[in-house]
């Protein structure tokens, strides 16, 4: 909400300067996001008088003008079509002056004639939008040549940009902000009466006899001249849906001349971010910015049947709005209709057919209260957010209708030189009843943690407009003001007291936090430990968006049974990931594109899967990718392969579980290499997989070389850790171990793991460990075979082993190697 500090000062005269006001209202919840000073960037620009005016000798469209700036005459070439007669006053930039846009005015030749200075338009001075012609100082303005423009035109102001929270519709107009400033600075600033129209008439037959009316005169200051009632059609207002339109008022202004607005009005609207159109439309906008209450002007003579009906649309009904777009409505949209059809979308935008035009003479001014939800739904559905809908959907003041009508009628009559009816129709379908709220000072003190004098609370609440109904020792009952729809229960009033006093007034205290029974779930600590383990093992953590495209999932050959977004930002991010693989390998692909030679990444995040429950299933997974070369010591780099992945997974699991994991061939996802991947299990439970990515998938993902990928299912892993429990200590062995080696030639199809397991079992429980210490293929080894050498460590926990026992066990081990694996013992 752009706010004029000048206007605030008019509505609430206080001593404080703009920075102090900005600070106080910010602290109280009206956050001032920026302050812009107006009129300060016009230094050096002066009013000047036209002395002579002659055509340019060479160029048709240019004029040679001599101006007097209070000190000297300057000859200027001017391109504007509206240079005034000698004696007229204009705004002049002397040579050397810097315009608000940063342009420095220098003498220069235009069509062979030296021009020293520039006669300025509104737009060039950034005080308005008009760039068509130069600005001509009003005859009534008493400015003299040489006067500074900012002073002469009264341009000094500060514009505050206030970021309003949606609970404060009362501050969507200057009257409301002034009221708030008044409360904070201890000065009562209730809205004042409007100046009042110069000419008025009695509505009489202009309103149909059954119409309820309200007298506008008490809201006007000053004397007015009564004139004869113009001959106007007799109007009626009918509300067909009182829930959605509890109140609808209409004032009447007759005999207006639609034309340009005076400069002060255009300047104010310009500073507050609104375009200027015509005096009547500008007036409705000014009333909106003053009261925060949108009004709408209808050309009375274009209202068919001289009636206004507020009703719900019929499904499929259409109307062109002011912006020229044909709109189609549903039965949930509230319309303002005349005798034949819709003329406005209630609270959102007027219709094109009944809008104010240059030839409009008589105006019906609407000021209503519409139900906020209704306006919001229509505005959303139409994708049409206007200054009007913005206010109605937050809730305007239903009780302000007569005063706003009085102000609007007065201003429009004055600017358009018309006459206003002294009464207005005020149809109330559902009367406003103030909310009565009980306030307990002890409760306020208890919630805020600081005692507050009862009198102080009462003073603050009454200053805000609450009306005291009843007061007892322990509580008082108040009625909230009609402009504060956000005040409905005690805590709302407690907040008011707290924020008006200032949150700084509340002391700080550190609570004693009582421990809860359940504490932090173990799995969250476990996840944190997994991350630390992954980093310790050498991985960098990645965080990817949780949504991507189905194509990406397809390309990665992961599940496309997705949870899809109904309203994605783009097709690229329309499906929730079913796997971390596409995102994480994507990071690897980009890293390789950047020339990274070694990529080591992990991500620990959720994947999403449709389920039979109302909410999808969310799985937490640890995913790992290794790509490029594993760096060795000075030039010892070599490409990552399966064993790097396996070692990494072992290291991570060992760190968090304290137990060695098993790697066995098995069914891995389709995107993994069928021959270079393994299932990871712990304590005989599957917890994930590791291996190399299928080369075809790697190509599709634009990865280079062998890329290692692993996934660990965090939930499964957590189950295993729970089962395994806490590691238990054992005494160290008392008796020495004996080691024996066994080397063998064996066919490739037998895995080292299964051989080791078999050898261990063959030892009759005597083997403490079987450890592969050598592997050899190549020279002197038959095709399809390899040489494996195991070191078997024998130990009897109860006695010292004799050679004889070891020999016997080792012979069994060799026998199994020969018999079961057809190994040749070397």
């Amino acid at each position: 909400m752009l706010t004029s500090f000048r206007w605030l000062q008019e509505l609430c005269p206080i001593e404080a300067d703009v920075r102090e006001v900005a600070h106080r209202i910010t602290q109280a919840g009206l956050e001032v996001e920026a302050i812009e000073e107006k009129g300060a960037n016009l230094s050096g620009l002066v009013v000047a008088e036209v002395r002579t005016r002659a055509p340019h000798p060479k160029r048709d469209k240019l004029t040679l003008v001599t101006v007097f700036d209070g000190e000297a005459e300057h000859e200027v070439v001017c391109g504007a079509p509206n240079v005034p007669e000698p004696g007229g006053r204009i705004l002049f930039a002397r040579p050397g002056t810097i315009l608000p846009n940063g342009l420095r005015i220098e003498p220069r030749k235009i069509g062979g004639v030296e021009s020293s200075g520039m006669i300025c338009s509104e737009a060039e001075l950034e005080v308005g939008a008009d760039a068509e012609g130069i600005f001509i100082v009003d005859a009534e303005n008493e400015a003299l040549p040489g006067d500074e423009v900012a002073d002469a035109l009264d341009l000094h102001d500060f514009i505050l940009d206030i970021g309003l929270t949606p609970n404060r519709p009362d501050c969507l107009g200057h009257v409301g902000i002034a009221r708030e400033v008044g409360v904070l600075f201890g000065k009562r600033c209730e809205p004042r009466r409007a100046a009042g129209p110069r000419r008025t008439f009695a509505a009489g037959a202009s309103f149909q006899a059954d119409q309820p009316t309200t007298d506008l005169v008490p809201s006007w200051d000053g004397e007015s001249e009564p004139v004869d009632a113009p001959a106007l059609p007799s109007i009626s207002i009918e509300i067909a849906d009182g829930d959605r339109c509890p109140r609808y008022g209409a004032a009447l202004v007759s005999g207006v001349r639609v034309g340009p607005s005076p400069f002060w009005l255009r300047y104010r609207l310009h500073n507050l971010g609104l375009r200027t159109l015509s005096n009547v439309v500008d007036a409705t906008n000014l009333i909106l910015l003053e009261w925060g209450h949108p009004i709408h002007g209808f050309d009375l003579n274009r209202l068919r049947g001289s009636k206004v009906v507020v009703r719900l649309a019929r499904k499929g009904e259409t109307m062109a709005t002011l912006d020229g777009i044909q709109r189609t409505f549903t039965a949930d949209d509230l319309l303002i209709c005349d005798g034949e059809g819709p003329v406005a979308v209630a609270g959102v935008m007027g219709g094109a057919d009944s809008e104010i035009r240059d030839d409009t003479k008589d105006i019906l001014i609407e000021c209503a209260y519409f139900a906020p939800r209704s306006i919001r739904r229509t505005s959303r559905r139409l994708g049409l957010q206007t200054d009007s809908s913005h206010r109605f959907e937050r809730g305007v003041d239903p009780e302000a209708v007569p005063r706003v009508l009085a102000s609007a009628a007065s201003l429009i009559a004055e600017l358009g030189e018309g006459a206003s009816a002294t009464t207005a129709i005020d149809r109330v379908a559902m009367a406003y009843s103030p909310k009565s709220i009980s306030f307990r000072p002890a409760r306020a003190a208890g919630l805020l943690g600081t005692p507050i004098e009862t009198e102080e609370s009462q003073r603050i609440l009454e200053a805000l407009g609450c009306r005291l109904i009843e007061k007892t020792d322990s509580a008082f009952t108040l009625e909230a003001p009609s402009w504060r729809p956000d005040l409905g229960r005690e805590v709302d009033l407690i907040e008011e007291v707290a924020r008006v006093r200032g949150y700084d007034e509340i002391p700080t205290a550190v609570p004693r936090v009582r421990p809860s029974e359940s504490g932090t779930p173990e799995v969250l600590r476990f996840i944190s430990a997994l991350r630390t383990a992954a980093v310790t093992a050498g991985l960098y953590e990645a965080v990817n968006y949780a949504f991507l495209s189905v194509e990406e999932l397809q390309k990665a050959r992961v599940s496309t049974d997705v949870v899809a977004l109904a309203n994605p930002l783009s097709e690229d991010r329309s499906a929730m990931r079913t796997s971390l693989m596409p995102g994480l390998t994507g990071a690897a692909t980009r890293a390789q594109r950047h020339g990274a030679t070694e990529v080591r990444l992990f991500e620990l995040a959720r994947t999403f899967h449709p389920s039979d429950d109302i909410l999808p299933r969310e799985d937490t997974t640890l995913a790992i990718v290794l790509a490029g070369d594993r760096s060795g010591w000075i030039g010892g780099d070599r490409p990552f392969d399966f064993y790097d992945g396996r070692g990494l997974v072992e290291a991570i699991l060992d760190r968090v579980i304290g137990q060695r994991s098993d790697f066995t061939p098995g069914e891995v996802p389709e995107f993994m290499h069928p021959k270079r991947s393994a299932i990871v299990s712990l304590a005989a439970r599957e917890v994930g997989f590791v291996g190399e990515i299928h080369p075809d998938v790697g190509d599709a993902l634009e990865l280079h070389g062998r890329v290692v990928y692993a996934e660990i299912d965090v939930a499964a892993l957590h189950v295993v850790t729970e089962e395994l429990g806490t590691p238990q200590g054992h005494a160290l062995p008392k008796f020495p171990a004996v080691t024996r080696d066994i080397a063998m030639l064996v066919r490739e199809e037998f895995t080292a793991g299964e051989i080791a397991t078999a050898l261990s079992e063959a030892s009759g429980g005597l083997a403490e460990s079987v450890h592969l210490f050598d592997l050899y293929r190549g020279d002197q080894i038959p095709e399809g075979q390899r040489s494996l050498a195991f070191r078997v460590t024998y130990r009897d926990p109860e006695s010292t082993l004799t050679d004889k026992r070891v020999d016997k066990a080792h012979a069994k081990v060799a026998e199994v190697a020969r018999d079961r694996f057809q190994a040749t013992i070397r």
């Binding site: 919840g29 956050e31 929270t165 949606p166 939800r373 919001r376 739904r377 959907e393 937050r394 208890g446 805020l448 943690g449 600081t450 805590v491 907040e495 707290a498 924020r499 949150y503 700084d504 509340i506 002391p507 700080t508 205290a509 550190v510 609570p511 936090v513 009582r514 359940s518 779930p521 969250l524 992954a534 980093v535 050498g538 991985l539 960098y540 953590e541 990645a542 965080v543 990817n544 968006y545 949780a546 949504f547 949870v563 899809a564 977004l565 109904a566 309203n567 994605p568 930002l569 980009r590 890293a591 950047h594 990444l601 992990f602 999403f608 109302i614 909410l615 999808p616 969310e618 010591w633």
Partner: protein
């Protein structure tokens, strides 16, 4: 069978060895050479060893005496060997200790660890502080019911308060209403979930991913928040101020000033926003010039850091707590923003690019 010559040979041998061994051993310049020379006397084929093999041929009356002499000689050789070897070792060590240094600029050989993502890092820092104050950590789904994200938190239906929560909805679910399914827009959903299943006292913090349909230079459609709340009898706004002031000072700097101002979130009242003095220009130090030039706080010395307030009674009513019996406070912050402030990260997009050149900075 004694051989008279044997005695002569034996004695000659001892004499010869005695005359030569010491010089020979001392002449050795390194350990292998020393061991080679030593072997010539006492190795398996060494001269002294060979002599000792003659022992049986010596006459019985001399055998003992000659044997003792030979063994004494062997002992002397061993002693000399030890002395020379010590000398060689000492010289080698002195040479290393006084000679040229190792090229310590060559790379280390131990594998390097990776790094945590800055979001994880800041989450850990934040949790460490709050957990030390007694808060438990909780977690909840990222895909949520409308009612948990909005209705139960006191967002009125069709209310502009939802404007800041431009929401992603899930296809196939109900298009609207309390059971429509969406990506949570805030971690405040945890308030509803935890309060619905537990009784006070509750002190909980919950970090996690949230989603909003914003994607521009300063917004990411997925980002991270952390929600904290405390519910018990007699919890006060003063305590909210105390906890957050302490938290921010521990997280950033013990000198930061903290300022609370009124604001609005449907699920808290009184509601507020917290500003702290700018940590970039270190505004608390009072260097006006530095603060004026600061691009982060734009010269005003303050930065918005989090939202907070007393839990609204409507939230308690929605989860079945008695608002007359319990009070509580809640606060929420964007972890991305805190990470960006604390680690000086210039652009939110860097957080989700996963560029190792960026990730390795933390």
């Amino acid at each position: 069978m004694a051989e008279p010559d044997a005695v002569q040979t034996f004695e000659d041998g001892l004499t010869k060895i005695r005359g030569a061994y010491e010089q020979a051993l001392r002449d050795a310049t390194d350990e292998p050479e020393l061991r080679l020379v030593n072997g010539r006397y006492v190795g398996p084929q060494g001269e002294l060893t060979k002599l000792l093999k003659l022992m049986p041929k010596l006459p019985g009356d001399r055998r003992r005496e000659l044997g003792q002499r030979a063994n004494a000689l062997k002992q002397e050789i061993q002693t000399t060997f030890d002395v020379v070897l010590d000398g060689i070792h000492r010289r080698a060590r002195d040479a290393e200790l006084t000679g040229p240094s190792l090229d310590v600029t060559l790379p280390g050989r131990w594998p390097m660890p990776g790094r945590l993502h800055p979001i994880t890092r800041i989450r850990n820092e934040v949790l460490e502080i709050l957990v030390s104050l007694g808060f438990d950590v909780a977690d909840g789904p990222e895909i949520e019911l409308y009612e948990n994200c909005f209705d139960k938190l006191g967002f009125p239906p069709d209310h502009p308060a939802t404007d800041e929560h431009d929401t992603f909805f899930i296809e196939g679910g109900k298009p609207s209403g309390p059971h429509s399914v969406l990506l949570r827009t805030q971690t405040s959903t945890i308030q509803v979930r935890e309060m619905s299943r537990r009784e006070p006292p509750l002190a909980i913090v919950s970090p996690g991913a949230v989603y909003r349909r914003d994607d521009d230079a300063t917004h990411s459609p997925m980002f991270f928040q952390l929600e904290g709340f405390l519910v018990d009898t007699d919890v006060t706004f003063a305590e909210l101020k105390g906890v957050l002031t302490l938290f921010l000072r521990r997280l950033f700097d013990e000198h930061v000033a903290v300022r609370f101002r009124a604001s609005y979130f449907p699920f808290v009242e009184p509601g507020g926003e917290v500003d702290m003095s700018c940590v970039f220009c270190r505004a608390w130090e009072g260097d006006k010039e530095r603060t004026t030039a600061c691009r982060v706080c734009k010269g005003n010395g303050w930065m918005e850091i989090l939202g907070c307030g007393m839990i609204h009674p409507v939230v308690f009513e929605n989860v079945g707590y008695d608002p007359e019996k319990y009070t509580g406070f809640a606060f929420g912050m964007g972890l991305d923003r805190i990470a960006m402030l604390k680690y000086g990260i210039p652009n939110i997009k860097l957080l989700y690019d996963n560029d190792v050149r960026f990730l390795s900075q933390f």
